[in-house]
Symmetry: C2
Subunit: 460 residues, 2 copies
């Protein structure tokens, strides 16, 4: 409980001091205060800058020691050499939580960097103050309109909690931000994976915990904590720094000792952490686990408007060891009644000929999906279709979201191609009901990991 209380100061502070915040504002100035105001953060803010009396209308202080009110969190963004003294001042001012944004500590190649990081560690050990960083974007919390990132970020109130060793996940990706809540450990001189995991463990706003791991100083605690969580909540991991050369680079990125990758892989697997093989899969899986229920049967049913992509889906199932399910007799009968007589009904279901033969072109698609979603023999459904134009994309999404809402116990994934595919994928994903992908293999890979986790949970 002590840890959670502490982590709340980092994630949901009611007051924050911004030490070293610049007077420069506007594009390219990377001003944390400016961003914080733009998010609509409701807590008290204390900019600390000896050369300013106010910044953006907020009263500024020349030193943290001048602030008399209680402060939950201090964020330090100054040249590295000043940092230990400033942290000490925070500690003396009874500030328990400090984020050190500055770079050039264990991530540096020089002795001074290592020494400075040691000084931070010493302060932590001799006080009640805890440090996140150095070399970090800090934290982000969409549910609290709060982030310490010096890059203005886009958060979304989505149930993904990420713990990472880079600001990349805060900045986000074109198709997805993974930051509902985010913790960038940076060099992790103190706060580490275990603390983050514990904070997210019983957080009702978070459905999935995503870990970007370069290396960890607390491997055993990380593993032990994860073991406790995975039976309740999915934990994903993207372990980087696999080769010797990458390990060397990680040393100078966050001062991490990465450890042997096979050992990591085995340890993570053993405690039920689902591992992503690359960044694209990590993004895909976070989006999938955030919104889809577990699978209760192993087989996946596919409805496709493209026979060719149905075949690609089967190839994907073979590659990722996922079963394409057998359709029940009733489903086959239903589908057979819609299709031209010459079409063989099987899974994947090629629905295009039925659509072309129907007055209402989308009715066979909806009926086909309804049949598969209702088929007890199947554990999940993949729809493969195109968004030919804007209007088509909109009505397609409405139909799919409606179908998913009516079948909340069965995961529905989609692969949408065509010029408006991306927009459709985004709408589906943001509905919180349907996971959308650009290619069939990516959808199948995500379902394969979902089935893996469902098995671990004993649901499948």
């Amino acid at each position: 409980m002590q840890t959670i209380k502490q982590m709340k100061q980092f994630m949901e502070p009611h007051s924050v001091a911004l030490i070293g915040v610049s007077r420069d504002t506007g594009e390219g100035s990377f001003n944390i205060l400016e961003h914080l105001l733009s998010y609509g953060y409701q807590g008290r803010i204390y900019p600390v800058n000896p050369n300013a009396t106010e910044i953006l209308g907020v009263k500024a202080y020349s030193s943290i020691t001048e602030v008399t009110e209680d402060i939950d969190l201090a964020v330090i963004a100054t040249p590295r050499a000043l940092v230990p003294r400033l942290v000490k001042e925070c500690s003396d001012s009874n500030i328990r939580s400090v984020i050190v944004v500055a770079q050039g500590f264990a991530d540096a190649s020089d002795d001074q960097g290592r020494q400075l990081q040691q000084e931070l560690t010493d302060i932590v050990q001799s006080s009640n103050t805890r440090i996140l960083g150095p070399n970090t974007f800090g934290t982000a919390n969409a549910f609290f309109n709060f982030s310490t990132s010096f890059v203005r970020i886009r958060m979304k109130k989505q149930p993904i909690g990420i713990i990472c060793q880079t600001g990349v996940f805060f900045v986000g990706f074109p198709e997805a931000t993974l930051v509902g809540k985010g913790i960038d450990l940076g060099n992790a001189c103190d706060i580490h994976f275990a603390e983050g995991l514990e904070y997210f463990e019983n957080d009702p706003e978070i459905n999935v915990i995503a870990l970007h791991i370069e290396g960890a100083h607390d491997t055993k605690t990380l593993i032990d904590t994860a073991r406790r969580i995975t039976p309740k909540k999915p934990v994903l991991a993207f372990k980087t720094g696999r080769s010797e050369q990458a390990a060397k680079a990680a040393q100078s990125h966050t001062g991490s000792l990465v450890g042997r990758s096979e050992v990591w892989e085995a340890s993570l697997k053993q405690v039920g952490i689902i591992q992503a093989g690359d960044l694209q899969e990590f993004i895909d899986l976070a989006g999938t686990f955030a919104i889809l229920p577990p699978m209760q049967k192993p087989g996946v049913g596919v409805v496709t408007i493209s026979g060719a992509l149905g075949i690609v889906a089967i190839d994907g199932c073979q590659q990722f060891s996922l079963e394409t399910g057998e359709l029940s007799a009733n489903t086959e009968k239903l589908l057979g009644a819609m299709a031209p007589s010459w079409l063989r009904i099987s899974n994947p279901v090629d629905i295009w000929p039925a659509m072309m033969g129907s007055q209402d072109v989308v009715k066979p698609m909806v009926d086909g999906l309804e049949a598969l979603l209702s088929d007890d023999a199947l554990g999940a459904v993949l729809y493969i279709g195109a968004a030919f134009d804007d209007k088509w994309a909109t009505s397609l999404c409405q139909l799919l979201i409606g179908l998913a809402a009516a079948h909340q116990d069965k995961p529905l994934t989609c692969c949408i191609y065509g010029p408006y595919g991306d927009e459709a994928i985004k709408v589906l994903q943001e509905s919180g009901k349907v996971a959308g992908f650009r290619t069939p293999e990516r959808a199948i890979r995500a379902l394969a990991r979902l089935s893996q986790y469902s098995r671990l949970r004993g649901i499948l």
Copy 2:
């Protein structure tokens, strides 16, 4: 030459008859005539529909036999049972090229389908008329404002020629259309891969030929033709239908006998065809080979604003057997002068600390890329950066395109994340100078295949 002349009738017809074209127009009517007019096609068009005297202001005919002018190409989109008679009429009217859009031939599970396809084959054998299809979208040619697709498609004058067994590639993908020119073989009762390859072989508008192969009846000719082409022009392949179940599905999709996947893989490799493992890679590779020059040295230099993604790039290099190159002493010196003293200079080059220490935040990035692009020890360069906002994305793209233009002999790839990453990637790709990707591993995978092809050509 006979083949090329024939293929020109399919790809660049000066006159086209649309047999069975509907009077319905507007959204959801899938009207080929309407699409053709919207593309700005300049040839003569003859709609054939016994129930119309004109469609969209174009004079309609009740039968192809009524048309007295020469016709290069006929497109037949009617119920399957009518098709053989209509093809026969075309042949009797001296039309040498016919596209059969209709489904339900070898792709059907019934005897009638197989028999109808046999009738088409018989007509081909006993006449001078050649058939593309049945069960096809036909052809598309952005350079000629022409397509027979019944779905309105977006073509782009880009140097990609695709030969496929599905309309999916005509409809396209959110991030990319692969159709500069496209040939959908459908069931391939007559026109097959070899004819398409021959057409693209010396086509100056096409830099890369992309094959989507479910199965082929002309495997030997395909392989022999490709062997002749790959030393001049890259040929990519995405072979689907790898599992037994997928093979069965391919049978009912295009009536294809897919053959054993290991045999395919070995044969394609032997003649220098670059193979994509999944749909995402196929899309990525087509975009890359269309615009990038070959690699002349094996090593790739990486400039990154994210240390974490630099590490991911190294992991990617290990996975796809691509070398990260050693920087020359001169490059190290140049980069060292920009960076803070504590930063170890190595490849990947973490440029962020230099950017943060510079008055002009992007100058170190540009100088760093310039140094790597000029470094004779490196064969290609990957830039990893973010598009934080719209303005940043725009100026980033300008800089990157300018750098690529100044170093046309060295492939420049980029991974752009951040909220405006997709837009930046699109602008880069459309410049025809820089290949853009969402993740480092995808960029590295594409470069690995490019280096593989450069080796085959003896350039590397």
